[in-house]
Subunit: 337 residues, 2 copies
Amino acid sequence: MSETVPRPTLEAVAARAGVSRATVSRVVNGGDGVREPLVERVRRAVEELGYVPNQAARSLVTRRHDAIAVVVAEPETRVFADPFFALQLRGISKELTAHDNQLVLLLTEGRDDHARVGRYLAGGHVDGALVFSLHLDDPLPGLIQRAGIPTVFGGRPGWRDGTGDDVVYVDSDNRGGARDAVRHLVGLGRSRVAHITGALDQTSAVDRLEGFRDVMGDVDARLVGEGDFTPAGGERAMRALLDRCPDIDAVFAANDLTASGALRVLREHGRRVPDDVAVIGFDDMLPIAEQTDPPLTTIRQDIEEMGRLMARLLLKGPGDATSGVVLPTTLVRRASA
Amino acid sequence: MSETVPRPTLEAVAARAGVSRATVSRVVNGGDGVREPLVERVRRAVEELGYVPNQAARSLVTRRHDAIAVVVAEPETRVFADPFFALQLRGISKELTAHDNQLVLLLTEGRDDHARVGRYLAGGHVDGALVFSLHLDDPLPGLIQRAGIPTVFGGRPGWRDGTGDDVVYVDSDNRGGARDAVRHLVGLGRSRVAHITGALDQTSAVDRLEGFRDVMGDVDARLVGEGDFTPAGGERAMRALLDRCPDIDAVFAANDLTASGALRVLREHGRRVPDDVAVIGFDDMLPIAEQTDPPLTTIRQDIEEMGRLMARLLLKGPGDATSGVVLPTTLVRRASA
């Protein structure tokens, strides 16, 4: 191990600079009340020895770590497989770096590891947490509340009860965006419009389903297939939908990955898109949405901006903002609908 | 913010259990010397109040955090764009989780942020660090050495001087694998064999170039094009190589991403692979290596196992292992060579 090089101590710096321990300590912690020539000598000794102050001890006093935890409530494999998370992290990383805060990404293999994440958050290692992709029965929100650190959620948490009004979150207008998607399909003259949902233990999926129902009303229940925001889930749901309702003439998929799976199955079954079945997604995830065959009409949400805004709200405090900030969505027309 | 719920204190637990602060503290820290009925009462109070011990204070005493930092010396965007990192992280995540250690991934926008990473590592937040994708002039190794925490490197660090023998690393046999690749091309009767290097400020790229030279000897310098381990770098280098040496009949690319870029350019120029130009990669990165046109002959390294082994060496100590552990590579034959 590379620990055989002893870490230089405060004492060593004091000896090298020819000053007292207390003087070194004052300089390292800001230099108040120390004469400039002494400050200079201490700084030179710090540099020559490569001294790093013991921040564990210091941060127990200042309670600042200049580090923010990011928790994605998904297994590590999913975090790297779904570009949604990379985009949100990109926004977060840019904003935290601009404020010289360290991004501390806590990865897990799955929900069983969330208690350990809660311990790390409670352990005095970070100044706050950004948490996204929560699922309904996830123990994380409770663990985070007990950790007692400022937190901003990505996506409206589904666990709000009457006391939850102090929860700060950033979300997209999932319900409004879904309404726009379905209205677009109806406007094309389609009447047998199906919906492939996302993971229904997440509020984003529930809200998009609500938006679908806002437009379609009390629709034939067989026109709703359950997906999980993955291409494989989209394939499974599309197969089942074609089985149950062969007369489908349009599909609103809960995200672009789901739509890409649905498109593959429609092609397999010889259905032309958009002639026989129009398809619309959600996200405007690039390059996927442009590379599907045909390119995907979709509802754009600014995922990177969501990440940036989450970080900004955490660092600066929510200010006058209400508990939730909801970003608008826009329809992006390509060939699939 | 979700911090309005006050975090339960040690005092609150003591009051609820009807015992002294000292008793609660002893129970929380292992229960030595406390009678069983009292232990039980304290445990119940801890549970009812949702008390989380102040681990920052506790870990200053025990110096254990059950958390390991992972530092990839690349910008955050590259970490998510190159599947090599996802695979190495998968191995690390599985191994750390199996030992109930938290994976703490420290992301950056670039090298300017490495001083901040060094501060976090020195700050008493983790028990050790796994560091990979180092570049030659990177300040990280020095910062990590000063942080004084056990470290295992992924890939042989290039900064070793005479005193560096205590550096533990896991690497693949880059030089031997490169020799196998080039021998395979020569065995096919190819004589104008070119090499597209990786980023030459990384030892993996330097070692693969050495392996190429081991077989080809003092080759025409124009047959070596500099890449950077990305598809775009492979495209650029392939274009320049075809310009300089139109008679090339084989290419050894430093990794599969580089090879995928080279294949695109060869196709553009109407060169048939493998008939006109045989191409071989390095990594056996799936699904990329199977999805190129034609599928890619390559040198397989077990990237996930490298990650697992790095974590294992860090958690258990290197034991009798020498400073470096080098994993073997194997030739995987597909259509491109």
